[in-house]
Every structure is written in structure tokens, then in C-alpha cells.
Symmetry: D3
Subunit: 143 residues, 6 copies
């Protein structure tokens, strides 16, 4: 069984802050440092969505990248691109906008939609800056 993992990249630009209103300024600064700036900061995010499956004998495709791209654009990019993650994004409402939580939120927006197209979502990778990124395998721990 020649399972293939296929990944599509999309990008978005968004503002956010890491700040708890139930904490003092000094505690916010101690834990979140400059990420807690009241007036926000932002990033160019890179999102990699990985789906696994067997190549279709007729097309050679695990999933049609046009379909996968549409799912990502309609359900993630349109909701978050050029937005404020804390204020504007329904699926992040009430959560700390850490990269960790954002990756989980993005997974949950798309998992069943990808399954409907015959693919299996297996990984979200989200690059926040050239120096840090997170990966989420739906809770699995491959290593």
C-alpha cells in the first residue's frame, strides 16, 4: 500500500497579542514579554496542510490540490488573512492566540471537510517567524 503524504502551503498575514486581561501588566510582561504589547503586533504566517492517502490510479492524485486549496482558502485564509486573530476570528474566540492554539483551531476547521473529499488530514505546520513554528498531528505523537 503506497501511502503518500501531500502538503499544500498557504500564507496569511494577521495581527495578534498574547495578553491576559486578568493578569497585571508586569505578569503579562514577565510571561509574554514583547508579545503582550497592548496595541498588537503581527506576522506573516505560513501554513502547511498535509493529507495522506493512496494515489488514485486514474489521476495519480491523493487529493486534488484544487479541492484542498479551496478548503483551506474558504475555511481558514478568508477568516484570518489581514485580520486580528484575537478580535476577528470566530474559531479562535476566547482562546489565547498562541501559535500552538492557532494550529489546533485550524485543524478543527478543516478535518471533516477534507475527509468529505476522501483525504485524511494528518498534520498542520504553522510557521510564525523564521525562528519558530509548531506542528500538530491531531493529537498523535509520531515521535
Amino acid at each position: 500500500m503506497k501511502t503518500i503524504f501531500i502538503t499544500r502551503r498557504e500564507t496569511f498575514n494577521a495581527a495578534h497579542r498574547l495578553r491576559r486581561e486578568d493578569w497585571s501588566d508586569s505578569k503579562n510582561d514577565e510571561i509574554f514579554g514583547k508579545c503582550s504589547n497592548k496595541n498588537w503586533h503581527g506576522h506573516n504566517f505560513e501554513l502547511f496542510v498535509t493529507v495522506k492517502g493512496l494515489p488514485n490510479p486514474d489521476t495519480g492524485f491523493v487529493i486534488n490540490l484544487k479541492d484542498l486549496g479551496s478548503i483551506i482558502k474558504e475555511n481558514v485564509i478568508e477568516k484570518i488573512d489581514h485580520k486580528n486573530i484575537n478580535l476577528d476570528v470566530p474559531f479562535m474566540s476566547g482562546m489565547m492566540s498562541s501559535t500552538e492554539n492557532l494550529a489546533i483551531g485550524i485543524w478543527e476547521e478543516m478535518e471533516s471537510l477534507i475527509e468529505n473529499k476522501g483525504g485524511e488530514l494528518v498534520k498542520i505546520k504553522l510557521i510564525e517567524t523564521e525562528n519558530n513554528y509548531v506542528e500538530y498531528f491531531g493529537g498523535k505523537e509520531p515521535f
Copy 2:
């Protein structure tokens, strides 16, 4: 047992098209979109070949990268670089030239040759554009 995974990158440039002659133009266009252009298009591919093993106590090497590089160049790059994947590449003959199938074809060209050098091929990653790539673990599903 301190197993290490070592990866070597090579690049190649090739033409291809995704098109079934047993399908109508409109069906080809529906499924493959602009990738079905009759007169071909092409890509700069990046190929990452990963081998695992224990570092040799004398050399610190899992596999000599000169040997691994030679295997990749002689068995993959020389057969595909500056070629037409559909027309010129024996190991892709009769297959759809999707990135998925290409990764499988490349694995099968090299698996036993790498084993002969004392390494174990464990992953092929093939980047087609900055927005999509595939990974093949020889059929394994690490996640």
C-alpha cells in the same frame, strides 16, 4: 542505539503534463486544470532523500554522502534532469506524472542501491513548487 536520519538534497528541472488521452479535453480540464496543457509545462523540482542508520564509529557517518550523492545522480538526476517526465523517463513510463507517482518511482529506483551501501532508505520528499510537495516513506505511515 543512536539512530540518525541523514538527508541529501538534489535538484532537477523537467517538463510534464497531467493529461489522459482516453479522456475528453473538457474532462482533462475539469480534473487537471492548467496542468493538462497539451504543449507541456515544467518545474524546478527539489528532491530530498533520507537514509537512517547508526553513525560508524570510525567516520561518524551513517552513509558517506559522496556515495549517496552518486546513487541519486546516476539513477535519478541523469534520467530526469532537463527531460520530459512523460516521454523521456523509463521509470515513469505508462504512469501519470503526478508528484505522488514520481516520488514512488524515485524510491523504487534507489531503494536496493542504498541498501547495498549499508544504508536504509526511509523517506523521499519531492517539492514541485513552493506551494506543494509530497513525502513517501516506502508505504509506511508514521503519522
Copy 3:
């Protein structure tokens, strides 16, 4: 006068070959090497289009990037993306499809259209592979 240079990147994937039918196979091979493969090869091209001007006091813009993006997409990308440069691209008809000639052809497709939007096209940079690119300043020689 605070002249600013602004650059927009677009990408396209295309097939081509460097081959003269009025030359023998051996001369084609001597001059063009593997780029002369009869059955084509291809690349992921990166195109950078630079426009200069003064920032508009109301918007801070030299040119609206939406307008510049539309000009590039409609006049270059749609004509060349997922195409064969030698066979499918009217503005390259009858020319060798070298990166040099392609940069000149792209300039000539867009120069007056950008001027109509109040910008001045000053540079085309075209990356063919990670190891080679060309720049064209409309014939000027800044260095």
C-alpha cells in the same frame, strides 16, 4: 524628491527548450547542452517587477499593488503560466526562449500599461533556477 522603488513578485511554471532547427544536433548540444532536449524541460520562474515613483500623499503608495498585480497577471502570467514558452506564448514567437529574451519580452508587454497607471517600469528580474537569473532595466546600464 523621495523616489521609492517598489517590487511585486509573481511566479509561473513553464516548459521550454533552447534549440535551433537550423543547427545540427551536435551543434545544439555543444552550445545549449541539456537545455536543447527535443522533448522540452521546464522551470518554476520567479518574476520581480520594479516600478519607481513618489509616494502619493493620500495613500503612501507609489502605485497600488492591486493594479500592478493585475497588470502582471493579465498580461504575463495568464499568457505563460503552465504553458510552453516556445509554442504557446505570442510575445515570444520567433525568439529563442532564453531567460534574457524572456525578460525583454515581459518588459515590452507591460511598460506602457504601467505608465498608464502612473508608474514607471524600471526593472524586470527573472529567476530561472536558484543558480541563475537575469535583470533588465529597459536597456539602461546602472552599473
Copy 4:
């Protein structure tokens, strides 16, 4: 006279919006599109600062990169990193936070400080996303 151009890169992450309060929502949307989102968005900016001069015979240096790095960090990065360009950055106060204006503002913060260290600032390059960047030569038009 062997003039050398030396460039140092620094990065910063910031929020901003392109929006005129004296314009209607629909005009803001027409001109600035999604960049006018009321609740901000943001970017990872890459800043390249170029200084020219003759290599010092004792050190081989045009300018000591430690000195250049300190000037950039103290006068630009500390004022803008993890901030809101529209609200938090004194040198951008009252200006549209376009990439064009930001490059000019950064130049003006540093020009005389670099001259004090014996260097001549000749270029600011500011990358906002992988698809757009601006260059400012202090008003000069090399091409």
C-alpha cells in the same frame, strides 16, 4: 578606489493598517482592500541596510557590523518590533504606514548616525511579504 557596499539584515514583527479616517469605509476598501481592516493586521518585516565606503586597510571593514547592528537595533528595531506602526512608533506618527513611507522613515532615523561612524547610508530595502518589497536610495534614482 575600491568602494564596497555592505548590507546588514534585521527583522521585526509589527501590526499596522492602511486606512484614512477622513474617508468612508467603502473608499478605504476600494483603495486599500483588506489592508484597511479596522482591527489591524501585521507582518514579519525584513530590513536590509546598505552602507558604502572603502575597506579600512587595518581591518578590511567598510564599517564595523557590530556598530551598524547597534545603530539599527537601537534606533529602529527597538522602536518598532512587536509594536503597532500606526500607534506606537514616533517616527511614523501622522503618516500612512505604507511600506514606502516606512522605508523613508527608517532612513531618516539612521542616516546621520551612520555618517557619525564613518559610513554612508545608501539604501534601505524593506520586505513586507514574499511578494512585495520597497527600496529607497535617499531620493537618488540609480535606475
Copy 5:
């Protein structure tokens, strides 16, 4: 259980050589090629350190990247950056300075320190050049 994998990148520049004094020049050349040059050569290394865990409900963090960054800088970067791996780095003393061994040495410097901060080190990736890198999972073999 929503386990997240978070990665921090750091860079360092170092000299080294692959050479056994108990081997002849010709055997060193046969096995290590130009990497055995007596007078050393060097690289810009990129180090990626991956930690897994559950996001903290208060912060959204698996581990505070400031803490992880400090561990990497104090225990790896300060010992190896702008150094000679063979001569200057205590944790590589007596070992071949292959990328494989370097990844293992870096892991062993940090594993318990990361555990003390509540994280679990699960992967070291070390890029030596754009054409080769190694990964070490603490001896585990996820694929």
C-alpha cells in the same frame, strides 16, 4: 490530548574538519574528500530544536520560547558559535565532528535541562549546507 510539537531555530558558524590522525593522507582523502583539509573549513549551521507537550491552558504555550531559547543559547550556541568544533567544544571532544555526531552531542547537552522546564525534547535537526542535514530523535525511529 492535543499534543503540540514546537520548534525553535538558532544559528551558529563554526570551523571543523573530518580527519583521522591515525589514517594516512590518502585514506583521509578517500573517505572524507575535501572535508579532510588540514587547515579546516567551516559552515553556517542551522539548528532546529523540537519540544512536545500540551499547551498550558493559561498561556497557550507548550514551553515558553524565551526559556527554550535561553537553554539553547547558553548550552549550545555560546559553546560552539564562531569556534572550532574539533578544538574548542568540550562536548565534542574526542569525537569525529560529523553532522551526525554533532546532532547527538547537542541533544545530550540539552535533554535534561528542557525536561526541567516541563518540556520533552523530541528532535534535533541540524542543517550543515543547503544540500545536507541530519535529524536525531534521541534514538527513536519514527519511520
Copy 6:
């Protein structure tokens, strides 16, 4: 006259140090910092060589990149790759191995050889790390 600028990239890995034996350790440390480490350090250098000219009507080429590549490899890369810039490289003998001086040295190795092939060398760009690079235009100051 449609002058085109064409650039070829090559890479090399080398050790060096910035250190004057006629200076005290503390002065070396003050001026050169960690770059003065006695036991060397090293880098992956990226070299970009730019040649200008008119495209040949028969080939579309300003210069044949095979010829340009051969000149760079034989006269620069073979002399410096996997070497110690201070000890092993004849054209840097007696000079501080700063990136500035290295760019000038590389220019002087190749200028006349490129002219013999009908091209005009107009720029050397040398990237030492992702955070610094130099450019040399043969003494010209385009900006």
C-alpha cells in the same frame, strides 16, 4: 540597445578568522569580537557573479552560463572551497579575510577571464551569513 545583466550563483564553504597578530588579544577582541577566535570559525558562502552584455541574436545568450560557470569554478571555487581563507588561498595572501576584501579578491581573479569570453563583469555579491553580505562593482558607485 537591450543590455541584459545575467547572474550565476555558486557556493563554497570555508574557514577564516579576523585577527591581527600585531595587535593584542584584547584589541583583537574589541574590534573583531568572536570573529577573532584563534582556532578559526567558518561559513557557507554564496557567491553571485553578474555579467552584462547584449543577447547574441543566434543563441539569446549574453554569455554561455557553462563558460561562466567554468570560469568561476576553476578560478574561485576550486581555490577556496573547503579551505582556510587565511592560510590556503593564494589570492587572499597577506590580506585581512573580511567579506569586503574577499569580494575584491574574487573580482580580480575573474575580470579578464570573463572579458576573454566576450562578457563584462559588473558585480560580485558575496553572502557570508543570512544577516550580512557585500557587493562590489569594480569600484563603481551606482548609488
